[in-house]
Amino acid sequence: MTLLSARDLAIHNRLHPTALDVQAGELVALIGPNGGGKTSLLRALARIEGASGVVAVDGEDIDEAPMARRRQLLSFLPASRDVTWPISARDVIRLGLDRDDEKRIEEMVSLFELGRLADRPVNQLSTGERARVLAARALVGNPKLLLLDEPLSNLDPYWVLHFLEIFEAAAEAGHMVLAALHDLSQLDRFSRALLIADGRIQMDETPAKLVASERFEEIFRISSANGRWAIRKPADPRSLP
């Protein structure tokens, strides 16, 4: 069932008109070289800046939805982990809800193992700890579409795997997860991968097919040799994209 349908998404100079359909239960990775447009696509989907086009989740136009409804449809986790104010971790999670739901907040506190940290001001936590709090904020409202920018950075290996399990569980429950990734080591955990470069979706494949393709190596300017990645040396430097 197509749950997300985006048409003519465009941001001047950064994202060319793009269409995207995502089914319920899909776990989608957005990969691509730095500055290629991963974040721009996520921001356009989250209706963050004056992006043109239409984004519909479950048939509802996001631009038309009031705040309470938007929270049920989508949530956005930015790559920045900064919070200026000394708000407690538990209260930061609470900001993800329209109405207080102590039980749901406690669920998030235990899912992200924040018990000991829950009452500490979030701006005094380490970056990795703050990443957990902010992810809990993004998930607490149980939105249909999760737009996550670099959700796995700043995490230690345990938490990388734990986050992936949480995303998989969300997908199994029928949600859609779109995550921009820098590190490709966990790509095989995703059900679908979009390769984004020069402001366009260049490829839309399963991770295995995508990584094996010539186009992937071309765009990332790397190639696989003896099971390891190496920098691709172009024959003629002027032929760089």
Binding site: R43, A46, I48, F76, T84, W85, I87, S88, L95, R137
Partner: protein
């Protein structure tokens, strides 16, 4: 905590209205109507102004700090108060305006001009040093321009006249002056309070707020315009009073457990309470000439400000 604040504020307001008691008692002995006259014509406008101006400073300080994501942004540090003073001086001594409401509008326009300049110079997400330096430069320029406007004013008494008022004074303000300041300030304050939820959400970053349908740029413009109206109208009538707008939100956020938006209401209460206390102190000092109330807030505010700077530095280095 909020109840305690309200109780303290009611107590402070009552003290401000009734103290000193002796003139009231003496008037009462002569004619009960005279005592009422003193209370309603002389003291009530002053008490209303003190409470309203304090609340406006607290709310605008808290809102500006929330939208600039910086605990040092406030009407005085950003140069808004100085800009309002300049606007009121130009309106009063150069344009010859005498209508309190028109002067209040001049004050608001001056504050708006300086805040717009600050956003243009420093940007909304400026780091603390840039924000402070840009605000300082604007405040100094506005202060110099105010002095110049007074020195060159058609009236030879302008400078002498304006001295007391510029540092903040509530002495001998009429009901019509109080109304001229408090109606625009009150409306702007209420509109600011309606934005407290959005200001809490913007603490998660502009992008998260925008994904929920808040327009951060528009919100910033609204906060700046409303703060300028709230503070500017009060400055035009009672002069520029420093530090209340900076310090009240610091305590306000203690009440709101760090939430910048939920801190708006407690900041208003605390701002009103602080200014009430400052004006009670001014009246309690037995001098022939009244001390400008801004002197008192600066005397108490400066150490608090320094403490804030030191704790912020510690947090940054920690």
């Amino acid at each position: 905590m909020r109840l305690l604040l309200v109780a303290l504020l009611v107590l402070g307001a009552a003290a401000h209205l009734l103290l000193p008691l002796t003139p009231l008692r003496e008037a009462q002995a002569i004619d009960p109507g005279l005592a009422d006259l003193i209370l309603i014509e002389l003291r009530l406008p002053r008490t209303m102004l003190v409470l309203g101006y304090g609340a406006a400073l607290g709310v605008s300080g808290a809102a500006l700090q929330a939208i600039f994501a910086n605990p040092l942004a406030s009407p005085d540090i950003s140069g808004a108060s100085s800009g309002a003073a300049l606007g009121a001086v130009v309106g009063g001594y150069w344009l010859g305006l005498t209508q309190p409401l028109l002067l209040a509008a001049c004050g608001a326009a001056g504050a708006l001009g300086t805040l717009a300049l600050l956003v243009t110079l420093a940007g909304r997400k400026a780091d603390t040093a840039t924000l402070l330096l840009a605000g300082l430069a604007i405040a100094l320029a506005a202060g110099a321009a105010t002095s110049l406007a007074l020195a060159l004013a058609p009236s030879p008494f302008a400078f002498y006249d304006a001295f007391d008022w510029l540092m903040g004074s509530f002495t001998d303000r009429s009901m019509s002056q109080a109304v001229a300041a408090l109606v625009p300030a009150g409306i702007a304050t209420l509109l600011l309070l309606r934005r407290s939820r959005a200001l809490d959400l913007i603490a998660l970053g502009d992008d998260v707020a925008a994904s929920l349908g808040i327009r951060p740029r528009r919100l910033a413009m609204e906060i700046i315009a409303l703060s300028a109206i709230a503070v500017g109208a009060c400055v035009a009538v009672a002069g520029a009073i420093g530090f209340v707008g900076l310090v009240a939100p610091v305590f306000g956020r203690q009440v709101s457990r760090g939430h910048p938006g939920k801190a708006l209401v407690p900041s208003a209460l605390i701002g009103a309470l602080l200014l009430t206390i400052a004006d009670l102190v001014v009246r309690a000092i037995p001098l022939d000439r009244p001390i400008p109330v801004g002197v008192i807030t600066a005397l108490f505010g400066t150490p608090l400000f320094l403490w804030l700077v030191v704790t912020m530095r510690r947090r940054v280095t920690a």
